[in-house]
């Protein structure tokens, strides 16, 4: 299988090697066409965002206003802080010039003169690697004003690296923009959407690192070629990051629609000690967990995973064997979301804390059966009631893990109903969604 994002070419991270292997020919080809043509090709290719929402990349670009007297901006989201997700760092390290070329083409398509690559602060090394690649590309005239001469075009754009400082929430696109502007990284209320009102109130597009790295091959080889790779509704390859209880954890670039079991057992080498799998989170920690007996036949693409009761997210596959303490896992995850909640919306700020407290109570052996319902109730009251998707990200793992592993959780709590807790559940249910509506 041909790899698109991380090709097996030695030293492709070096500019000369990248150029020798056809680098920057896609940009040259793109600049000879109209911006609308490029957007059209990306739309037809079926490329969907790799940052979590799997939204059509071409469609997102088409939201950018054609006529505006304001400058337009492109942001590349390399905040990559989702637990279980570690794919973008591979691109910064092993194929940064394809990302740069993708940025040039994207800027041309949406009419942006400036692009920022937002990289999480902990990635000191990868910030340096990306900056080095960018410096080389500038020196060689592939980026900046020198582009005009290099490509024989009127168009040029500048690319800058912006380093974050340790906040999961900044991976949320509107939070990322606030962070980049030098504010606290609070998410913004949408609408207005970034294409109307983004960085400094100007039209802005925000795309994931992996998404944009797919652009040059689409332009070179054509949208038809790309649209035929993997699942037709979510074509292309996806960088699957496999972690947890597998023999060979790591990032695997595979066609969309590859079987989850294939990835775990063939590519990642199966589970150590041939143990059974208790639980898999297929798309990074925020996505609904699947039971070990739900994995058979599940394909890894947005539509198939939706049908299987989860979501593709960032393609970070976390595998847990039969000896895993799921209460501990969920308590740890809830601690994470509590820690990372920006504190702007009450349901998330308070709710994530409650989830953590209840789970720690169960973990300590002091939980009652009513705690399980309380977890679902609290999760339901967070979900849909917050400005950004961190609410869902915190609620989903809890709601789905508790409902899908109900027996497991019930075995960990006292059968006696804690009246104090039960009363709380009762009074809160008045406003919460009925439990019957919670999908199993």
């Amino acid at each position: 299988m041909e790899k698109i994002v991380l090709p097996d070419i030695d030293n492709i991270h070096i500019l000369d090697v990248y150029v020798q292997n056809g680098g920057f020919t896609a940009a040259k080809k793109a600049f000879s066409q109209t911006a609308d043509d490029i957007i059209d090709q990306v739309k037809k290719s079926g490329l969907r965002g790799r940052g979590g929402a799997a939204f059509s990349a071409g469609l997102k670009w088409s939201f950018m206003p054609k006529t505006t007297d304001k400058p337009k901006y492109l942001c590349i989201n390399g905040d990559e802080s989702e637990p279980g997700s570690f794919k973008d760092r591979q691109i910064f390290e092993y194929n940064p010039h394809q990302l740069i070329e993708g940025i040039l083409i994207t800027c041309y398509a949406i009419g942006a003169k400036t692009a920022y690559i937002y990289i999480r602060g902990e990635y000191h090394k990868w910030v340096k690697l990306m900056q080095k690649a960018l410096d080389d590309a500038y020196t060689a005239g592939y980026v900046g004003e020198a582009m005009k001469e290099k490509f024989g075009t009127e168009f040029f754009c500048n690319i800058y690296v912006h380093k974050g400082a340790g906040a999961y929430i900044c991976g949320e696109e509107s939070s990322l923009m606030n962070s980049l502007e030098g504010h606290r990284g609070y998410p913004r209320v949408k609408p207005p959407f970034p294409a109307q009102n983004g960085l400094w109130g100007c039209p802005t597009t925000i795309n994931n690192v992996e998404t944009i790295t797919n652009i040059p091959p689409i332009i070179t080889k054509g949208w038809e070629w790309f649209s035929k790779i993997g699942e037709p509704k979510h074509p292309g390859t996806i960088l699957f990051g496999v972690s947890g209880h597998v023999n060979k954890p790591g990032v695997y670039e595979l066609p969309s629609g590859t079987l989850l079991t294939d990835i775990i057992y063939n590519y990642a080498g199966g589970v150590p000690g041939n143990k059974n799998i208790l639980c898999v989170i297929p798309g990074g920690s925020s996505m609904p967990p699947l039971r070990g007996d739900q994995l058979e036949g599940v394909k890894m693409d947005a539509e198939s995973l939706k049908a299987a009761g989860s979501a593709i997210g960032t393609g970070g596959i976390m595998v847990m064997d039969e000896d895993t303490d799921l209460v501990k896992v969920l308590a740890r995850l809830s601690h994470f979301y509590h820690h990372e909640s920006c504190g702007q919306c009450t349901p998330c700020r308070e709710g994530t804390g409650w989830l953590e407290k209840i789970l720690k109570r169960i973990l300590a052996g002091n939980g009652s059966v009513s705690d399980i319902d309380l977890l679902v109730t609290v999760a339901n009251q967070i979900e849909g009631n917050t400005i950004c998707a961190l609410g869902e990200a915190a609620a989903w793992p809890v709601r789905f893990m508790v409902t899908r592993f109900r027996d497991y959780f019930e075995a960990r709590v006292s059968k006696e109903v804690n009246l104090q807790v039960a009363n709380k559940v009762h009074s809160m249910r008045e406003t919460a969604r009925p439990l019957a509506e919670v999908k199993n």
Partner: protein
């Protein structure tokens, strides 16, 4: 104690400012530079950063406290960050964290008496495929075992 950036650092800050249409977005980079020069973000640092970037001190403080990577007190020369999030936890992240705590005899965000070490339990660092991991200042150490951690800490000066 008044804080002033060195002339070299002023140059670096100006290069950061040049990336953006206004000065304010350079605050994150400027705070990193300040932390590098001063060791931590003091109130004097905040006032100076605010003056340079034409922000209020409160705005700068808001940024400092929002993120986890700006420290408002001096940390150890070797700031050890251990990830205990799920992917690391499944592969022994807590064992590493407990080992580091025990070996250095300090708790989360504490500094050893000689100022050589400080430790922090951190959220996912993006090393899930090479878990468990820890970082010393800016450098990642991955695929850890207890022996490797022991050796690493002994080698740090």
């Amino acid at each position: 104690m008044e804080f002033k950036f060195t002339p070299e650092n002023i140059d670096r800050i100006n290069k950061e400012i040049a990336k953006y249409p206004v000065k304010k977005p350079a605050v994150m980079a400027t705070l990193y530079i300040a932390q590098e020069q001063n060791g931590y973000i003091s109130n004097e640092v905040i006032k100076e950063v605010a003056a340079i970037l034409e922000m209020t001190a409160e705005e700068v403080l808001g940024v400092v406290t929002f993120y986890t990577m700006y420290y408002q007190k001096p940390m150890g020369k070797n700031h050890i960050q251990v990830c205990t999030n799920v992917s690391c936890m499944l592969r022994g992240g807590y064992d590493i964290w407990n080992q580091v705590k025990e070996k250095l005899g300090i708790g989360n965000m504490e500094v050893t008496g000689d100022g050589k070490f400080s430790i922090e339990e951190v959220e996912c660092m993006g090393s899930c495929g090479t878990a468990p991991m820890l970082a010393v200042n800016e450098d990642y150490y991955e695929n850890l075992t207890k022996e490797k951690v022991e050796e690493l800490i002994n080698s740090l000066k």
